[in-house]
Structure formats: structure tokens, C-alpha cells
Symmetry: C2
Subunit: 333 residues, 2 copies
């Protein structure tokens, strides 16, 4: 039994979390669940952080956190709880596997199998922003050597552990010579310690272009936070849908698992949403807590369902799908 | 006769510029050319700006500048001449049309016809970067209201002039509430003045994903500098190749025209490079200086050559190409 914290989130969150937990239970996952309330309800009750002290205590105590998407209300000084959680718990690595399921899911990129390792605490996400004059605002992009060392070492260790052959680094260090320059420099230093793993660097503009066009040339890609945010959505989407990708947020002591997509309030409560992203997050969680056999069982059941053409509306395609189903029916299958 | 400044640049620059100028001449373009030296030679002769005072004077005097790609040497405090030129001449709008040439050029996105309007002076390109402590570096992202107003107005005026139906804005204002928030706010203000043009906003992560996956849903997209840098490479590449796209850099008094790709030093001097990107830049220039009939003539000749399957190596594809040619032969055709 592993004690974990679960947050059902907003929008389609509760539906996809219910579906995910039902599947985990059916597969025999050994989980003892503490549920917490976070997100919209909490924000709108006047807590601008979107989370209570008690909820934080639960998260800290259990160390493992499975989180559904959250809606941050516009305006009013609300902070993104996603970002706060990553920073508060020191979740420095955001890992997003993006693999094509061709021919079961339509994609223009049947060969792709990329893992984006995104730095998760620094960069423009440091949250240092202010009004300089009436007409000028600024935001600070912050990069530290320890931050670069942690994430780049993580990327190479990940490659080693999962038998990946190449780690690529994306930066814009022809323009940001000091900040992205530091990331690139630390990449070269750390790459030198892993002679058995191929390494390469691309300027992020042409790297992104290549990723969108021929993703099959990449394996593991490590990059600063904001590029990772944008390009993990690109990579996930071109496998078939952002709705299919999960991510792990890893720190020294804590870990959080989630879908990479948002809370899609317009689809909420309609039994339409695809639970696959959160389920993939849950599979990464099971691997992380040492229940790899259950993880494999869930992954196989999911693959089988996808292969059988039992698809939710977002990935439904006449050419490959056999049955259009809702969230619940997908989970049943 | 319009007097223009021409720089042949580095790497494949001289070859593609020669090809381009030959084509312009053959089409009867009325140009009086002042050639200047910029880039690697100048840098390595000890001028860290990569350009002489006299060259600046020529550029300023002629106002219209056709520029081949330039190589900025690594290290040694060299500044990117591309960026310096944009800022010095106040070239606030970087316009990059990305249109598929299907079925003549292989692409996974046959319907795409997107124009990226990229802010060209501010953002992380402001060049304000420094070392804060031994282990921490920072770069300033700067956004100003006048900067936003100029580029967003330009995007709507462009849409109006060329009969485009929709302008989309990409920002990450769920995280950068002040900087990207200002860009988004000004977008909404200016959009309200153009009720005949549809407008919409996407968070840049999922917007980029959509652009990479189904670019045909977009028309004109306006965005801050760095997103525009990355996503114009993505958009150009998925039409078939970054080698096919040109761009105009427009200011109140000056304008510069270029290919969007780099100087590709490894391909230099081999008569391999595709001059199409620079040629597209030159076509945008002819339109800008009122030689639209010649622009159309060049564009038609280029389309005919592409349609005939006469392709350089970078876009050569057995399925649609009939003849693999070098830079010179392509220009002849
Ligand atoms: C919701 C948002 C704050 C978040 C981010 O920007 O990191 C999301 O886009 C993600 O990628 O997890
Ligand atoms: C060469 C480089 C400085 C330039 C940029 O970053 O703007 C290029 O990538 C471009 O898009 O024109």
C-alpha cells in the first residue's frame, strides 16, 4: 500500500480522475488515497492560492501526488497552483513522453517516440515580473547553474535508465548568450560524463521546426522551462492529441503526476473527456512507486482499448476507430 | 529605378544572392544596387558589430535593404547583426508568410496558408542580460505598450490590405500576467477597432501545438518576438522546408528583406543551396517598393519551376520532383 494524495481539480478533472481511479483499482494498484480540494472552488472561496494549509500538509506527508487539471480564475491576483506546487515541492524535472500509437491513432508522425525533459522551476516561470514605467513592463528570465545541473543530469540518467540513445539540448543561446548560454555550457559539461549516450544541441527555433516536421530524429530532449512548456504541447499534439500525454514532475523528495492538458471547462460534465492523459500520468506514478507490474497491466489494457478502436471524440477518426465512447465507457473498456 | 542596399552575407549567402539578383534582373526589376560587406569577414577583421560605419550610411540612405544570411562567430562578444539591424532601423514588424505549395512540394499540411507577424524589437531580444551571482544569470523580457500597439495595429492593417479574415494572438499570459498580459490586453483593444476582421487568442503552448498539427485553422498570427522566432520556423518548415520562406522586416522609414533560414556554412560553395527563401524575400521587397508587376512575374516563374518539379536537394522528393538541380540551374530555370 502506498499512500498518495489525489486532487480531482476543475472542469473535466473530476470525470477523468474518477475514470483513472476506477481503472487503477480494477488493475489491483495498491493505493491508499487522501483526497484534497484544490482549484476553482478554493480560489473563489477567497483563497488566492487555490489550496489550504491542510491540503499542503497532506501533500507533503504523502509525497506522491496525482493531480487532475485545475482552472486558475482570470485576474484578481490568483497564482497558478501548478507552478506553485512545482516550486514549493522542488519538482525540478517535468518529464513528458510523447509516443505515436500508429496505426491505432491517426498521426502524421507514425515513428515518433520522444521524451521531453523540461526544467520546471526557473526561467520566465520564476514569477518575477513588474511594471517599470506607465508603459513598460518586464519579466525576469532566471537561470542558475545548480538548476541546469539538476535537470541536465536528470535527462542523462533518464536516458541511461530507459536505454535511450541520444539526449538533445534546445536553447536560444545565439541571442541569450548568458542565460541560455549557461544551459548549453552545462549541457556540454554533463554530456561529457556520459560518453555512451549521444548528445547534440539545436537552436530552439530550428529545433522546434524539426520536431514539428520530423520528430522521429529525436529521442530525449532537455530544455529550459518555457521552451519545454511550448514544445511538449507540440510533441504531444502531433502524436495524435495532447489528450494522450501524461507527465511526471519529479523532485528529490516529492513527485506529482498529471495530464499535460488543461481543465477544458467547456467539455465538463458531459462524459466526453478523454482520461488517457491523466491515466498516463498515473502509469508514470505506478512506475515511480515501484508498482511497475500494475503499471504494465494498465498500460496494456489501455493500448488494447486504443488498438480496438474504442476512442473518445477527441481522437475519433472514421479510418481507424470502431466505436465512439464517453469517458465512462472508455474506462470500462 | 529604386536604389537598394544588398549584402551577400556568409555561408551559402553569396550563392543564393547571386541567383536571386540574376532572376530579378531577368524579370526586369528596376533596381540600382549598392553592395556592402557585412558579417563574418568584418567580424573577424576585428569589428565586433560585423558592419562598418560606411555600410550603415549606405543602408540608411537607401532605406531598402536586401540581406543574405549572416554568420555570427561564437564567443568574443560578437553581436547578432540581424538583431542590431532590426533595432537600429526600428524594423518593428517581421512578417513571414508560410504557404503550402502542395502538390508541387511534399508537405503533411496541404491546406496551410499562415502569415506570422512577429514583434521584432522587444521581448527577450532587448539584449539586457547579466550575471547576478556566481551561479545565477538573468535576462530581461521587456514589453511596452507602444511596442504592442505598433505590431498589433500592423497585423490588423496587414489583414485588411491583403483580405485576410482572421487575426490570432499567441501569448503565455496565464503565467506572464504583466508582460504577455499587456500584449493580450492591447490585442483586445485594437481588435475592437476592426470589427470586420475576426480575432481570437490562444495560450502559446496549445496554440503552437495546433499550428504544428492543423495549421489550416490559422490565418494571420501576431505574437511577441521570441514566440514568433520559434513558431515562424515551425510554420515555414511544415509547409515543406524553412528554405522556402522569406520575410520582410518593416519600420516606419526603413525595410529589410531576407530569407528566414540561416547561412548553412556546411553547404557553402557547393551550388547546393535553395535560393527560394531569399527570392521570396526579394518578392516581398518588390511589392513593398511598388514594383508589384515584376514581383508577380518572379513569383509566377518561381511557382512554375516548383510545379515543374525542378527542385534543389532540400525539397527534392521522388514522388513529386522531376529533376534535382543546383542553385545555378534552379535560377536558370
Ligand atoms: C497551466 C500552466 C500553468 C502549465 C504551464 O505553463 O506549465 C501548463 O501549460 C503545463 O504545461 O503544465
Ligand atoms: C539569426 C537569429 C539572430 C534570428 C533571430 O533569432 O531572430 C533568426 O533566427 C531569425 O529568425 O531571423
Amino acid at each position: 500500500m502506498t499512500k498518495i494524495t489525489v486532487a480531482k481539480g476543475d472542469g473535466i478533472g473530476p470525470e477523468i480522475m474518477d475514470a483513472t481511479l476506477r481503472i487503477l483499482k480494477a488493475a489491483g494498484a495498491q493505493l491508499d488515497i487522501d483526497e484534497i480540494d484544490v482549484g476553482e472552488k478554493v480560489y473563489l472561496a477567497g483563497n488566492t492560492a487555490g489550496i489550504s494549509k491542510e491540503a499542503w500538509e497532506t501533500i507533503r506527508r504523502n509525497k506522491i501526488f496525482l493531480k487532475a487539471p485545475i482552472t486558475t480564475p482570470q485576474g484578481g491576483g490568483y497564482k497558478s497552483l501548478n507552478v506553485t506546487t512545482r516550486k514549493t515541492l522542488g519538482l525540478f524535472a517535468n518529464v513528458r513522453p510523447c509516443k505515436s500509437l500508429y496505426p491505432y491513432i491517426s498521426t502524421k508522425h507514425p515513428e515518433m517516440d520522444v521524451v521531453i525533459v523540461r526544467e520546471n522551476e526557473e526561467d520566465l516561470y520564476a514569477g518575477i515580473e513588474h511594471q517599470q514605467t506607465d508603459e513598460v513592463v518586464q519579466c525576469l528570465k532566471l537561470i542558475s547553474r545548480p538548476g541546469c545541473e539538476k535537470i541536465i543530469t536528470y535527462a542523462f540518467e533518464y536516458a541511461k535508465k530507459f536505454g535511450r540513445k541520444k539526449v538533445t539540448c534546445f536553447t536560444k543561446d545565439n541571442i541569450m548568450k548568458q542565460t541560455d548560454g549557461l544551459f548549453h555550457k552545462v549541457f556540454d559539461e554533463i554530456a561529457a560524463k556520459y560518453p555512451e549516450i549521444e548528445n547534440e544541441h539545436w537552436i530552439v527555433d530550428i529545433g522546434a521546426a524539426k520536431l514539428a516536421d520530423t520528430p522521429e530524429v529525436f529521442d530525449v530532449i532537455v530544455m529550459p522551462n518555457l521552451y519545454g512548456d511550448i514544445l511538449s504541447d507540440v510533441a504531444a499534439q502531433i502524436t495524435g492529441s495532447v489528450g494522450l500525454a501524461g507527465s511526471s514532475n519529479i523532485g528529490h523528495d516529492h513527485a506529482m503526476f498529471e495530464a499535460i492538458h488543461g481543465s477544458a471547462p467547456r467539455r465538463a460534465g458531459q462524459n466526453m473527456a478523454n482520461p488517457s492523459g491523466l491515466l498516463q500520468g498515473a502509469i508514470l506514478m505506478l512506475q515511480h512507486i515501484g508498482q511497475s507490474d500494475i503499471a504494465a497491466k494498465v498500460q496494456n489494457a489501455w493500448l488494447k482499448t486504443m488498438e480496438d478502436g474504442i476512442h473518445t471524440y477527441d481522437v475519433y477518426d472514421e479510418k481507424v476507430s470502431t466505436k465512439k465512447v464517453g469517458t465512462k465507457e472508455f474506462a470500462d473498456a
